[in-house]
Amino acid sequence: MGAVYALIALGLTLVYGVLHIINFAHGACLMIALYGVYGLWAALGVDPYAALPIMIALMLMLGYILQRYVINRAGHTRDERVLLLTLGLSIIFENLALILFHSDTRTIETTYSLQTIQLGSVMLSLPKFYAFWGALGVSAVMLAIMKWTDLGRAIRAVAKERVGAKLMGIDVEQVYAMSFGIGLACLGAAACFLLPAYYVNPSVGNGFIFVSFTIVVLGGMGSFLGALLGGLLIGVIESLGGLYLGESLGQVGIFVVFVFFLIFRPQGMFGSKS
């Protein structure tokens, strides 16, 4: 789970790092992506892993449109306004899903969903094994895009110095919308890896939103490396918490880490002081 968490958090931290907004609808967008994968599988018989390019493209478009035509209008002045706006969006998405799909929890069954793989002395379920390496792979691709392509350079330039980037001829609005799109594309990829080992229902995003906020805070807002390591760390904390404190109380560990870091080290492990 840790690597998938990392991928989800990577999307969130990208949006924060570039646009300086906290996307509260991140969990709801993950829910949309999960339904997308489920829909492709149920209606067209597309294997979740084969759906990867389709979902990345679809979520990229959704993010682009959302940022360009909705979120952008709130401006970038007061961050609470954007937080409220994305809260509103997540309420809408979640309850639209409730109306369309009802509150049933759905899973998909593939030939490999119950297979396991032997690694030394541990047994791993095959979908989780794929999810781990797949999520790491997509994260690596994303980091490469950020580092070596023109788009990545433009995004980093805007994140560092918006006015300067504008003066250099970068279309800032375009970069904002693309960053938001890539942020959601991470969710599209995460959903493809997640669904074979997980489930989907309209409120599934809530479980992830705190985890990904925690990872982003832990790793430092806007830090990619921090998001990756934070994701893996939170995966471990969650498993250990569940093991020693029981399933329900174990989650408290994540929130305690979250509050602790927000209060005492809001710049995270790797973040620089803003």
């Binding site: 007061r78 961050d79 609470e80 309420i91 409730l98 329900s248």
Partner: protein
């Protein structure tokens, strides 16, 4: 003062309502509107006047609700004494969260996220410990007496909640006009400038969150008196936080009447959608979300802000002093 006169009029009109009508629908609507107003008022004191946007007011709501039930069931107190403890404990929780997060200078979205996380922590804890009844929840035994604070007809509830809403209106008026209130608004508008003038933002915010948490705790206590049931999802789930915040924002952040206008407008709207679409689960919340998005995008100072700008449009032509007054009133849009 003008505000006081309006509050007196408002209270008088609503208090006499049970003598004018026997319609259960009308009384029930007014009770629910007042209850929603109370939650919104709580949010408005902290978010509107001090600029600290809380996403987790449920943490006070749930504490008020649980203390109200537990004090009656396990300690045998009457409902009025229980209310005293419910308010006190909510205040303690408020001061605790406030002192921890304000001490370390959490602002804006960070503060919002911490309050949200606090509500989640309380929710999981209340699921896990014994005295809250866990996931089964707690049922307040029926006790239709004055001491039990449960009433057979709605008018009793109406007067009770009206008294609370009216007190909160008076507190808000005091905040609006007192020195302390001026400090709060200064901290909201520019914390650094306020600090430079010798205001201690920490104390001001702490005062604000304690008042806000008491009012929200009262909302929680009223909830259990009305519905006689509470469980961790209702107490600490996001529902009450969202209701408080959306109503306050729709009505107009940082205004005296905004929360009441917003809560009433939202309740009207949700009744309308219920009539139009029947019982489709979720449709209500979709409308809530849509309204929130539209207000944030197009009318950041809320419904009362819309009213103000219409008034400003009319009065600008003949009275410059009047429109100056309107320009001075707090807005949250545009420049920040």
């Amino acid at each position: 003062m003008k505000d006081i006169k309006f509050i007196a009029l408002f209270t008088l009109v609503l208090a006499t309502l049970p003598f004018l009508t026997n319609s259960g629908v009308v009384l029930n609507f007014v009770v629910m509107a007042l209850y929603a107003s109370l939650l919104a008022q709580s949010w408005n004191i902290l978010g509107g006047y001090s600029g600290q946007f809380s996403f987790g007011n449920a943490v006070f709501f749930g504490t008020g609700a649980y203390v109200q039930v537990i004090a009656q069931m396990h300690f045998g107190l009457n409902a009025w004494d229980a209310l005293f403890f419910a308010l006190s404990l909510s205040a303690i929780v408020g001061v605790f969260i406030g002192s921890v997060s304000f001490r370390y200078g959490l602002k804006g979205s960070y503060f919002a996220l911490v309050t949200l996380a606090m509500a989640e922590i309380f929710r999981i804890l209340s699921l896990s410990v014994g005295f809250t009844g866990g996931g089964v929840g707690l049922m307040l035994p029926l006790n239709n007496t004055f001491l039990g604070m449960q009433f057979i007809n709605k008018s009793g509830y109406l007067w009770l909640i009206l008294a609370l809403v009216c007190s909160t209106l008076l507190i808000t008026t005091y905040i609006k006009h007192s020195k302390l209130g001026a400090y709060m608004q200064a901290v909201r508008d520019n914390e650094d400038a306020a600090k430079a003038l010798g205001i201690n933002p920490f104390n001001v915010k702490l005062f604000s969150i304690s008042i806000s948490s008491v009012v929200m705790g009262a909302g929680g206590a009223i909830y259990v008196q009305l519905f006689q049931y509470i469980d961790p999802g209702i107490a600490y789930g996001p529902q009450s936080s969202v209701e408080a915040l959306v109503a306050a924002i729709v009505g107009g952040v940082g205004t005296l009447w905004g929360p009441i206008i917003g809560a009433t407008a939202l309740l009207l709207m949700s009744e309308l959608t219920r009539n139009l679409f029947g019982q489709i689960p979720g449709i209500n919340m979709v409308i809530y979300g849509l309204v929130l998005v539209l207000i944030v995008l197009f009318a950041p100072s809320g419904l009362s802000g819309l009213g103000l700008s219409v008034r400003a449009l009319f009065s600008r032509s003949f009275s410059s002093s009047r429109s100056k007054l309107i320009e001075d009133s707090p807005t949250h849009g545009g420049k920040g």
